[in-house]
Amino acid sequence: MAKPVTMPQLGESVTEGTIARWLKSEGEEIEKDEPLCEVDTDKVSSELPSPIAGRIEKLLVSEGETVEVGTEIALVAVEGESEGPPREDMRSEGPTEEFPAAGTVAQPAAAQRVRRPGASGGNGRGGVPDAGELRLRRSSPVVRRIAAEHGIDISEIRGTGIGGRVTRKDIEAYVREREAARGPAPTPEPARARVEVQEGDRVVELDSVRRAIANRMSLSKREAPHAWTMVEADVTGLVALRERIKEDFARREGVRLTYLPFIVRAAVESLKEHPILNSVWDEERIVLRRRINVGIAVDLEDALIVPVIRDADDYGIVGLARRIDDLVRRARERRLSPEDVSGGTFTVNNPGALGSVVSTPIINHPQAAILSAEAIVKRPVVVGDAIAIRSIMNLEVSFDHRILDGGAALRFLNAVKRRLEGYTPQSRVF
């Protein structure tokens, strides 16, 4: 009897996953916890350890295919149990459709086979696309033709064919709906004008991560009315402190000491005083989170990822430094687990690391606010009545104006500022 493996929920709010790459093929044995496949969600790429041991009877989903959480993705024949009747699936396994005398497979459905490592899923990472990928991206001749005629991007349409393929009926229905949505009045301009690709232009196809970011940013801006405010913090003391201890720190702790642990620590303590910024809008109510899980925005060249330090209030500077170092490294290596990127209640953004002095971050939906720490710049400032050169860091918060107002935001921000300004070269960190 074959047992199914289903698409797990890899992160809250994740409703679907894409099989990026099968690591095993049909007929192979698999141990419990042995990696079965790589799954992409809009947050992470992650290996899926097999929940059961046995022999892989059937891979039900092709590489590049996106399925909802809970969908059966593979069947594993478990040792010691008798074979039941073959499961009904979309491909029949009866004697010979096209009976391959020499074992050649003519079935198009059968072309969904495991790809050897190297050929990736539809992430634009290169390699030869397999049939499943092509089927999703390009579908069939008639679908492509209708898509071309109506200027439709096939990837916009939800497919009901095998593997999520867009069928002719799907695209015809889509066209009909579009026509209906336009209303009876003929519109002079097309409903969704595509960008005309000109000679020399380079077209970048969206991968699932980019699409996910796009969707989330749109969602956040659409849902939450963003407001923003900024303060300047004089962190001369912090700078001197860090200079003094950083080498020692690195030697002792084995990780670099950046400003980020200080910023996060300040934010966490301030959130305890101003819990309204650690909450979630829930239509008729606001839910204030007890746990403080701080997400750190990490820039990855072509994408943005936000690993989360859970219970960030448990850590001191050293602990935060270690956690941040670990998360950032793993983010860069794309080895984050679903737990690493879920559960965040507040987000700290550090564009200052890249030299930004002002930024207007977008809230990490559905959080209440996001803190941005900018670059530390030496500036001439007035101290008392004299001009002094001080290290100044801008701090901003974007906040959901449904949940809190400018006063609360500034009170929080000032708390963060106060704490950061409070460091002296003699401050104790360890």
């Binding site: 009866g94 009976f99 005398a101 001749p141 008639v142 033709r145 069928t167």
Partner: protein, 328 residues
């Protein structure tokens, strides 16, 4: 109108043509006195005499060769090969001779013969009473090959075959002889060679089939409609060579999903020709790969029932293939 089965419809066509045209005659093993081993030609010798319903010696090459000779000297013979499985000895006379007379003589000599043969798997038939041989002949310019499944078309097509100035191979599925009955018009009518028939209209998939599997496909189509709301369009080629390309393509373009089924060994069968045609000419309309169903590539159906059942695409396999295609 009268309800006739396939066998009776064929008999009627022969009888009516022999009545109407005194040059029409039948010849073959056991066709005269005994009326044919399947009784298709029963009564014809009584009616038309032993010279027009002629029992030949056991010699297939002679049967076809002498039919050729008769046809170039004023007769219109309908030769019977007792089982399609026994056609090979006559292959030379059919392919090298009958098919080429007209072309090689630059139109001087045409060969208006019809060669009838029962084909198809029957229980107990085994390797030499079950074969489908049509594919061997569907690559032979100068020949026409027809294989109607149902009585109504069979009668009309046989008349057309007899009247055709070219050699026509006429295959009859022996399982359908008594199984398939329907209202058949009495009296004279013809069904043109080279025209396919749409048995059932549908939007979702096209199934092209002939022989017993056509009958099965029609039953499956009904079931799919009732249980799944899938509407299959079922096309019978009727003439296997030359194929009615227009009808087959129009259907393939309409549904975008094409499945060809026959009982013959799948590799090199007539369904392959249909598939190639659709893949080439209906490509831009296709919404799924072109599919085929046939017997496995083994030398014909075995005698023992379980092995025989592994051969013919049955209702389950046909249903599975049609569902798969519809869901693609």
């Amino acid at each position: 109108m009268a309800v006739r089965n396939l066998l009776q419809a064929i008999h009627d066509a022969l009888e009516e043509e022999m009545c109407a045209d005194e040059t029409v005659m039948i010849l073959g093993e056991d066709v005269g006195r005994a009326g044919g081993v399947f009784r298709v030609t029963e009564g014809l010798q009584e009616e038309f005499g032993p010279d027009r319903a002629l029992d030949t010696p056991l010699a297939e090459s002679l049967i076809v060769g002498s039919a050729i000779g008769l046809s170039v000297n004023g007769m219109r013979p309908v030769a019977e090969i007792q089982f399609a499985d026994f056609i090979p000895p006559a292959f030379d006379q059919i392919v090298s001779e009958a098919a080429r007379f007209y072309y090689r003589s630059n139109g001087a000599w045409n060969v208006p013969i019809t060669i009838r043969a029962p084909y198809g798997v029957v229980p107990g038939g085994a390797l030499y009473h079950s074969q489908s041989v049509e594919a061997y002949f569907c690559n032979t310019p100068g020949l026409k090959v027809v294989a109607p499944t149902f009585p109504k078309e069979a009668k009309g097509l046989l008349k057309s075959a007899i009247r055709d100035p070219n050699p026509v191979l006429f295959f009859e599925h022996k399982r359908c002889y008594r199984l398939l009955k329907e209202d058949v018009p009495e009296g004279d009518y013809t069904v043109p060679i080279g025209e396919a028939k749409i048995h059932r209209e549908g939007e979702d998939i096209t199934v092209a089939a002939y022989g017993l599997v056509l009958h099965t496909a029609l039953e499956v189509a009904k079931k799919l409609s009732e249980e799944h709301g899938i509407e299959a369009e079922v096309v019978e080629p009727l003439t296997l060579y030359p194929l009615d390309r227009e009808t087959i393509l129009a259907s393939a373009r309409k549904t975008g999903k094409f499945l060809a089924i026959s009982e013959a060994n799948i590799t090199g069968s007539v369904t392959a020709e249909m598939a190639a045609l659709v893949a080439r000419e209906a490509f831009e309309w296709l919404d799924a790969p072109v599919m085929r169903l046939g017997a496995p590539d083994i030398p014909a159906a075995a005698f023992a029932r379980p092995m025989m059942d592994a051969f013919v695409p049955d209702a389950a396999r046909i249903e599975s293939a049609m569902l798969e295609l519809a869901r693609y």
